[in-house]
């Protein structure tokens, strides 16, 4: 089994998007490796993003799927007012460029827009930016070992959770 083609790599990103659109969080978590990196850097100033998570602030920085499980637990807990009326979301991914690093590793760059209908406040917003995925073959399956979310519109209207990016 060799590295994925662009179409197959893109399909994995689309599957992630679909699971998030459906709020199917168990299936979403299954796409990630146990040691995954899930990282949304902050902006340092007008033009540059933070790039050293140990010394600079990120919007979200997790190493380990366990932390994403915490996020899902909070969303489902029934004790988070921000998660009480779940927004409706729709992910669009384009401009996919995939590159094989080795037989078991792919790097995938893409652009995203997530449209969010916030029912609670009757507001609609869009979050947009770029993804940098690293896909890794584990056994027979390809998993997400890294998702870097470069959010362009980072003035967050009230809140933003993992399903909105």
């Amino acid at each position: 089994m060799s590295a994925l083609g662009t179409a197959e790599a893109a399909a994995l990103l689309y599957r992630e998007a679909l699971l998030l659109d459906r709020m199917a969080f168990d299936g979403w978590l299954d796409l990630y490796t146990a040691d995954c990196l899930f990282w949304m850097p902050a902006w340092r100033d007008d033009g540059t993003q933070t790039d050293d998570p140990e010394r600079e602030l990120s919007l979200i920085y997790y190493r380990g799927r366990r932390n994403l499980e915490d996020r899902v637990q909070r969303i489902r807990s029934g004790f988070s007012v921000a998660s009480a009326v779940m927004p409706r979301v729709s992910h669009m991914i384009g401009n996919v460029l995939a590159e094989a690093v080795d037989e078991a590793t792919m790097r995938v760059d893409s652009a995203f827009i997530v449209h969010v209908q916030d029912l609670r406040s009757s507001r609609t917003h869009a979050y947009f930016g770029r993804y940098e995925h690293e896909l890794r073959r584990e056994g027979g399956d390809w998993k997400i070992a890294q998702k870097i979310i470069r959010l362009m519109n980072d003035v967050v209207p009230t809140m933003l959770d993992v399903y909105g990016i």
Binding site: D35, M40, P41, A42, W43, R44, D45, D46, T50, P53, E54, R55, E56, L57, S58, L59, I60, Y61, Y62, R63, G64, R66, N67, D70, R71, Q73, R74, S77, F79, S80, V81, A82, S83, R120, S121, R123, D154, V155, V156, P157, T158, M159, L160, D161
Partner: protein, 448 residues
């Protein structure tokens, strides 16, 4: 103005009758908001930034005082200055960037040029311009703000010249800023990476929430459960938290767990006892700080402290350490500019720990702040009620509040105007009175 306001209709302050109430009008009225911008934010001292944001000659950063765009600039000699970010020619905003370094600022519209001290260095084709005597007599420099001052790296400005000195404005609250700054001999800095968010509610919701101990276990149970779980697991691959080790918010904690203090001019502190323990990112300094500052001050430096310097600066030191700047946009829209504030020169491990805790707790993309901001918006919706306009949210602790300080304040020679010592369930709300009395003082010209 469509109508005028009477103070008694807005704030019901009758200590002799055991009453302190705030009217919903303060949160929902656009005309009152316009007056607040002029008199609270553009009529007195406000926080504008940290000196370290413009560290070197010709460094600058931009911001706002109320609605007025400003530049804080370190001039060529190293002196900090603050001026209005608008060209005197046509009023065009001179600098559009958030921050940068430049010895000359050229207006993008007609090329009038200013130096980093705000002085006009060139008016394009001035000699050929056939100006009259009136123009020549005018000052063409950038407008300096009326008052500008620094306390230990914290920069404040006032567009109104008729204000007390900065020293008097901050008063005893300076000692609380000392607790933040003294964490390093080099002072504090902002961790790179600014996070900005908005919420669709009045700015005073944020003002109050920072000092509102009552909400914590109600608003954040989903986060608290995760903290509990992480504390039990102590796994290496989950984000750890120091707040889980504290008991100031635990319902069954006995005895004094913290309290509140309020100061003249609207500054308030909500504090809780936190252990001097490895769960704090600063534990590595426990011995050094005790030797430098004495045990009492050292212990205060470890305590949970949510400090407001009225009206727009909040420093929250609890799960991590956050500096927030409140920027009201409309009566029902507020922008929050937030940073992780940290002692300079701390170890790489402590800095990383501080940042990790910060992100989960304070970010609008984290697991706690979204539950706050959503509550602010839900409160804003309820502010429409007219039948019973007086809120019931400023009454807890009224009979526990005493003039002056207490034993805990005495430990660091702190002299608040009022204080409350609390167990875990008292959750004082009477400290909010300090905000509204300072608000009324700044609004006195238009709300009598």
């Amino acid at each position: 103005m469509t109508h005028s306001f009477a103070l008694r209709d807005l704030i019901d302050d009758r200590p002799e009758d055991g009453v302190f109430r705030v009217n919903r009008t303060l949160f929902r009225d656009p005309d009152l908001f316009a007056l607040e911008m002029k008199h609270v934010f553009e009529g007195g001292w406000v926080f504008v930034g940290l000196a370290t944001q413009a560290e070197n000659p010709n460094d600058y950063f931009t911001g706002f005082i109320g609605r007025v765009p400003i530049i804080v600039s370190r001039d060529g000699t190293g002196a900090l200055r603050c001026f209005v970010n608008a060209c005197p020619h046509k009023g065009v905003r001179l600098i559009q960037k958030l921050c940068g370094n430049a010895s000359r600022h050229v207006c993008p519209y007609h090329s009038w040029t200013f130096d980093s001290a705000g002085a006009n260095r060139n008016i394009k084709w001035q000699k050929a311009g056939r100006y009259g005597a009136g123009f020549d007599a005018e000052n063409h420099d950038l407008a300096q703000v009326a008052r500008f001052g620094e306390y230990r790296g914290f920069l404040f400005a006032s567009l109104n010249p008729d204000v007390p000195s900065l020293e008097e404005h901050l008063g005893e609250a300076r000692k609380l800023l000392d607790l933040v700054v003294d964490k390093s001999p080099e002072g504090v800095e902002l961790v790179p990476g600014r996070v900005t968010f908005t919420y669709a509610a009045n700015w005073k919701m944020q003002l109050e929430n920072c000092s509102d101990q009552y909400h914590f276990t109600s608003t954040h149970p989903s986060y608290i459960r995760i903290l509990d779980q992480r504390a039990r697991e102590q796994a290496s691959d989950v984000v750890q938290s120091s707040i889980a080790a504290a008991d100031f918010w635990q319902e069954d904690a006995g005895g004094v767990t913290g309290g509140t203090m309020s100061f003249d001019h609207g500054h308030v502190l909500n504090w809780g006892v936190m252990p001097v323990a490895p769960s704090a990112p600063e534990f590595e300094h426990a011995e050094t700080w005790a030797a430098l500052h004495g045990t009492a001050k050292r212990n205060w430096m470890f305590n949970m402290r949510n400090l407001t310097i009225f009206p727009n600066l909040q420093i929250a030191e609890n799960a991590s350490s956050q500096m927030r700047v409140i920027r009201p946009i409309a009566h029902n829209l507020t922008e929050m500019q937030t940073w992780c504030i940290a002692p300079r020169g701390e170890s790489a491990a402590a800095r990383s720990f501080r940042i990790r805790q910060y992100e989960d707790f304070f970010n609008p993309t984290g697991m706690a702040t979204p539950d706050d901001t959503v509550c602010y918006e839900e409160a804003q919706a309820g502010m429409a009620e007219q039948e019973r306009p007086w809120l019931q949210g400023h009454a807890r602790g009224l009979t526990a509040s005493v003039m002056g300080g207490n034993g805990y304040a005495d430990m660091i020679d702190l002299k608040p105007a009022r204080s409350v010592l609390a167990d875990a369930q008292l959750c004082d709300e009477s400290l909010f009175g300090s905000y509204y009395r300072a608000w009324a003082a700044r609004m006195a010209e238009v709300v009598a």
